[in-house]
């Protein structure tokens, strides 16, 4: 980050969070620090990096200062402005929000594909096994030896099917936990307040 970049972000981050003169003091202070670090031999990028992330500095500054009480009229105009900008900007943040939601949904679907596959496989095994066992007596007439093969295969399939069922249940449990975590994370993102920089 360049020094100008840093100062711009710091200034715009502080605006509205600290009184104007305090913001000016903070910007001057950190600007002075950056220039002193550079004088000491560091490059511009290193000096800016050493001072820290403008976001963090804004949080630190805003945290230690009480917000000035807003005057009644300015709150109304500010609120009107906020709504206007919100509506005007809807195509932008709306599409971003939609895209984010779709990505989250895709992740969820991919998550569920695994247990779904497991369920499909177990169903196939169990059904096939059952059919094999039941149909075996009806097997090729006369060649009852083949009926045995069919019966045996049926049992094998049933046994395998049972194992796959157990695997699917375990995987479903894991996926359910993953799904809940994903969902809660998604909701948490909506609730978290974010710093607006420039």
């Amino acid at each position: 980050m360049t020094r100008q970049d840093f100062l711009l972000r710091l200034r715009s981050g502080l605006a509205g969070n600290v009184p104007a003169e305090e913001a000016a003091r903070l910007v001057d202070y950190y600007d002075e620090m950056i220039l002193d670090l550079m004088e000491d031999g560091r490059s511009e990028a290193d000096a800016v990096a050493q001072v820290g992330d403008p976001n963090d500095l804004v949080y630190a500054a805003a945290g230690t200062r009480p917000l000035p009480a807003p005057s009644p009229t300015s709150t109304l105009t500010r609120r009107r402005w906020r709504w206007t900008l919100l509506i005007l900007g809807a195509p932008l943040w709306g599409s971003l929000l939609l895209a984010a939601a779709c990505i989250l949904l895709s992740a969820d679907l991919i998550l569920w594909c695994v247990p779904l596959t497991g369920a499909g496989v177990s169903f196939g095994f169990l059904l096939g096994g059952a059919i094999s066992v039941i149909a075996s007596p009806l097997a090729v007439s006369g060649a009852w030896a083949l009926a045995l093969v069919e019966l045996g295969a049926g049992f094998i399939l049933l046994g395998l099917g049972m194992i796959v069922v157990w695997l699917t249940v375990q995987i479903t449990r894991i996926c359910w936990r993953g799904h809940r975590a994903l969902f809660q994370w998604g909701l948490a993102q909506l609730g978290r307040s974010k710093a607006v920089i420039a």
């Binding site: 149909a135 060649a143 069919e150 045996g152 049992f155 049972m162 194992i163 157990w166």
Partner: protein, 49 residues
């Protein structure tokens, strides 16, 4: 049911099934033609022909 019972049942089924199938195959003499007959029969059952 308990996982142990589940796995025991599954394992038993597989073991018995393998045994029976092998016996059947032995009696058939591991004949490829007869086995394809079996396969065709199974196919028709599954497809309700």
């Amino acid at each position: 049911m308990k996982p142990r019972t589940w796995f025991t049942t599954a394992g038993t089924l597989i073991a018995i099934g393998t045994l029976i199938a092998l016996v059947g195959l032995a009696l058939v003499g591991f004949d490829g033609d007869k086995l394809s007959d079996l396969a065709r029969h199974w196919y028709s059952v599954v497809h309700f022909n």
